[in-house]
């Protein structure tokens, strides 16, 4: 290691030699950095799961424009919009087709007494172009009364249920005292608002939600004419529909707005974002303490080097070299432990908690930056190294 670092820096790796000289202190320092990494990774992992579960339902539907009630916040946490708005929209130039989308939460009860809250999408089976292709293939089958596609990622549903469905065997369960039969699967995954997803026809949806009216869907999905500008049609819709009660969004913008809402306005997003900040601060404090103590312990050696003619950049180089060593060797165990905990968390909660390459790179460079910042603060103590005190 020393020879490699000597080759890399073009000088003796004083920082590495200092740190590795006291192995107990080095182990404690690395454990501290790894712990800070773990904190940040876990917060980011849960935040990522929140984001993933927020946009995952969008994978079920297709459409150019989403028309919703202004009372709603996100796709799955929406108010109701009058279906007459759909007919109004169909009269707008550039609108090719439109369809109502019903979304609500239904309590699933299984034979063994377990239950789960499922986010239920009621879709118009006659217009498969508004469903994702892998859902559209199954829509015909949903015309049979009280049939559904059950989410493979649902929490609280036994794996054997999905094995049966994969074999083509329907599975009957109960919702609000009525029997629903799963005839196939979708793969969306559980989230923070529900344990999983259920896709049914709009008729089945209304049957199982007697308080909901067909005249008041959750959203209206719109496709524009071939070659028409989505932005232009959106502008026309905004002009035609009452802005105080209706919001019109391009589909991609709607997903982005949902993400922003969940991250910045919902307590969960804010809490986990704050957790990331705390993790970073903990990391900076730990590394600062390690580097600051190390500088204080070696002031006499640094003063000797000053007397020998070493200049300030040399000393800064030592401190930053130590910061680099702590960042790299602290990140590795932090990353490995986090990967294991991600898998455990995903397994227990069915939340889409997964280690993304982008997240790992972000945390690594964040660790480097935090360690560098700590090193920069710690270098202030170098000024105390006075070679005149050596005699």
């Amino acid at each position: 290691m020393s020879r490699f670092l000597t080759w890399l820096f073009g000088r003796l790796p004083i920082g590495w030699l200092q740190l590795s000289h006291n192995k107990t202190r080095l182990a404690a320092a690395l454990a501290g950095v790894a712990f800070a990494n773990l904190l940040v990774f876990m917060q980011l992992g849960i935040l990522g799961a929140l984001n993933n579960s927020t946009v995952a339902p969008y994978t079920l539907i297709r459409g150019d424009i989403l028309v919703s009630s202004t009372e709603g916040d996100t796709l799955t946490d929406s108010g109701n919009i009058a279906r007459t708005r759909m007919f109004q929209a169909l009269g707008i130039a550039g609108v090719k087709s439109a369809v109502p989308l019903y979304i609500g939460t239904l309590p699933l009860s299984m034979g063994d007494g377990t239950s789960a809250a499922l986010l239920t999408f009621g879709m118009d089976t006659a217009q498969p172009e508004f469903a994702a292709p892998w859902v559209a293939r199954e829509l015909d089958a949903l015309n049979i009364e009280s049939t559904a596609l059950l989410d493979k990622g649902s929490r609280g549903v036994s794996a054997s249920v999905f094995e049966r469905l994969e074999r083509g065997e329907p599975y009957a369960f109960e919702i609000n005292g009525r029997t629903m039969t799963a005839i196939g699967t979708v793969d969306v995954g559980g989230g923070f608002l529900a344990d999983g997803t259920l896709v049914v026809s709009d008729q089945t949806f209304l049957r199982f939600n007697p308080k909901r009216s067909g005249g008041a869907p959750s959203h209206i999905l719109i496709n524009v004419d071939d070659g028409a500008s989505v932005q232009t049609v959106k502008t026309r819709l905004e002009a035609a529909l009452p802005a105080e009660s209706v919001k019109v969004q391009i589909m991609q913008d709607a997903a982005a707005a949902d993400l922003a809402f969940m991250s910045t306005e919902r307590p969960t997003g804010i809490i986990f974002g704050f957790g990331v900040l705390i993790g970073i601060i903990v990391g900076i404090v730990i590394v600062y303490q390690v580097l600051s103590t190390d500088v204080a312990d070696h002031l006499k050696e640094y003063a000797t080097f000053k007397a020998m003619g070493y200049d300030q950049p040399f000393f800064l180089g030592i401190v930053f070299e130590e910061a680099l060593v702590l960042a790299i060797f602290g990140f590795i165990p932090g990353f490995l432990a986090s990967s294991v905990l991600y898998k455990a968390l995903a397994s227990v909660t069915n939340l889409p908690v997964e280690m993304q390459a982008g997240t790992a790179i972000l945390v690594f460079f964040g660790t480097l930056a935090a360690c560098t910042l700590s090193g920069a603060i710690a270098t202030r103590r170098l000024a105390a190294a006075d070679p005149a005190d050596l005699f």
Partner: protein
């Protein structure tokens, strides 16, 4: 200051503390130290010899008077000039001041690395050679914690000499050494003066080495009270 002098001190005064607590440590010192000479500073504790050493070794700011070291005025000299000047000097400290995390070889290499010349392999070879000259060929990869006091001092001497400095400042360099080793080290410093023109200024109480000095300057209460040449 003549070209034959490595160090010229004129009207040097130095103070510690401020206001009422201000105390004068050096009183109107005037000196010329010839290039290649071995000069010993003597005097009782608190006589100002170490303060004088740090002033002419550009480790402490000159407050009053003038110190010329290797043709450079030290008073009000910028830090960059002082850093460049220190690279032409060698320091041997009484307390060794070896880096505890570095082996004997690596400590000596630090004396070369500051100049940025040669690669690590050459610096290592030169350091091994220097450690051999001070009798430590069998301790090249020892950490200071595993060396005796005398061995540490010899590593410190090797570190100071390895870069062929123009001036060596030494503070009690033989204190931790037995008579044979102490005299051997001082002879080496004297030989460097004769062969390479290296100037040595040494603070010592070691009477065993006085006979090797070209000049002995004695200070008392911050003043030069005697300046003799025993040879």
């Amino acid at each position: 200051m003549g070209p034959e002098h490595a160090i010229t001190v004129v009207g040097l005064n130095h103070y510690f503390g401020h206001d009422e607590a201000r105390k004068q440590a050096i009183w109107d010192v005037n000196l010329n130290i010839r290039k290649g000479s071995l000069t010993i500073l003597m005097g009782p504790s608190g006589s100002g010899k170490t303060t004088l050493l740090t002033l002419i070794g550009c480790l402490r700011d000159v407050q009053e008077g003038s110190v010329h070291l290797l043709d450079q005025e030290l008073r009000d000299a910028p830090e960059a000039v002082l850093v460049a000047l220190r690279r032409k000097l060698g320091f041997i400290f009484q307390a060794h001041n070896l880096h505890e995390s570095l082996t004997a070889t690596q400590n000596v290499m630090m004396g070369l690395q500051v100049h940025g010349k040669g690669n690590a392999r050459l610096q290592r070879a030169a350091s091994h050679h220097m450690l051999g000259l001070v009798g430590l060929s069998d301790r090249l990869d020892y950490l200071p914690g595993n060396l005796s006091g005398g061995q540490k001092q010899r590593v410190a001497v090797a570190r100071a000499l390895v870069s062929n400095p123009d001036v060596i400042f030494a503070d009690e360099p033989t204190a931790a050494l037995d008579k044979v080793s102490g005299v051997s080290i001082v002879r080496m410093l004297k030989q460097l003066g004769q062969e390479r023109g290296t100037t040595t200024v040494m603070v010592t109480h070691d009477n065993r080495i006085l006979e090797l000095a070209d000049r002995i300057i004695t200070l008392e209460e911050g003043r030069v009270v005697s300046d003799t040449s025993p040879i």
